[in-house]
């Protein structure tokens, strides 16, 4: 049997694997200010898409002689500084922040704490 191993120290809760998993064996949902990603312990699908698309290389496969239990990883969602709604995993934003600062050569990345709607409103309020 093929065991699916996810490294919870690397996984930051993006949507790549769950988007790629067409049989929806890896499932993502959001509830109570958290994102929950469920991974099977063993996967019988003839496919390695999740492993290929994972930006953190957190997924691997290994041979196992028994069925393993799946596990659900929980990621706290950041609440928007403006409207208070939960929007993106804290771990994703923490990973992005230094890369965005480096790409733009600026320390000003205040939008990272805003949800999409509030970013659009900020963009317009700056114009008018």
């Amino acid at each position: 049997m093929r065991g699916l191993v996810v490294d919870d120290t690397l996984c930051f809760g993006c949507r790549a694997c769950s988007s790629a998993c067409t049989p929806s064996v890896i499932r993502l949902r959001e509830a109570d200010g958290s994102r929950l990603v469920w991974f099977p312990g063993t996967c019988q699908e003839d496919c390695t898409r999740c492993q290929e698309v994972c930006p953190k290389e957190a997924i691997s496969f290994e041979e196992t002689d028994r069925e393993r239990e799946g596990r659900e990883l929980r990621f706290a969602l950041r609440h928007c500084d403006r409207c208070g709604r939960p929007f993106a995993p804290e771990k994703v934003l923490a990973d992005l922040a230094p890369r965005v600062r480096q790409a733009l050569a600026t320390e000003e990345t205040s939008w990272l704490t805003l949800c999409l709607s509030c970013r659009r409103e900020e963009a317009v309020s700056g114009l008018l």
């Binding site: 993006c14 698309v53 317009v124 309020s125």
Partner: protein
């Protein structure tokens, strides 16, 4: 430099025609949003950043700078959603059904046929225009200079 959809926010009458035209052009997935602010407002869409955070963070390099615009190569997109959170303007969206992001594509298929982007064609007050940044800026300076000069004349100096 390529042409972009550029905005004259003072001309926007909040009619939502751009949003509707965009949705019609892209199968109900609009990529421009009219945002209200203190009784005024303006549309927001991808600004085709020259130094684009979405391009910098995209793991499969599905986002590319091409001739002054930011292009999403849908076949490469893994739907990880990082571009959504990197964009300062909330201009990227995720299609959760297909597991792929989408953004303003400047109506590239229309432009190949020599047609303007749907939002630009539809905008009744010409708040949205298709132009290159240098020409647009020159035109804006000209308009601002004339307005200032007209006020100067009226003040009788």
């Amino acid at each position: 430099m390529g042409r972009e959809v550029l905005l004259r926010p003072e001309r926007c009458i909040l009619c939502l025609a751009c949003e509707v035209a965009c949705a019609r052009e892209h199968g109900s997935q609009e990529r421009i949003w009219v945002i209200h602010h203190n009784g005024h407002g303006a549309p927001v869409s991808c600004r085709q950043c020259q130094t684009a955070p979405c391009v910098a963070v995209c793991p499969p390099q599905a986002l590319e700078q091409r001739n002054g615009s930011v292009v999403l190569v849908a076949e490469k997109c893994t739907g990880c959603e990082l571009c959504l959170w990197a964009c300062p303007f909330g201009a990227m969206v995720l299609d959760t059904e297909r597991g792929q992001a989408y953004k303003c594509d400047l109506c590239s298929s229309r432009q190949e046929e020599g047609l303007e982007p749907a939002c630009v064609l539809t905008c009744p007050s010409q708040a949205l225009v298709l132009n290159c940044v240098a020409d647009f800026a020159a035109r804006r300076r000209d308009v601002a200079g004339r307005a200032w000069a007209a006020g100067w004349t009226r003040r009788g100096r």
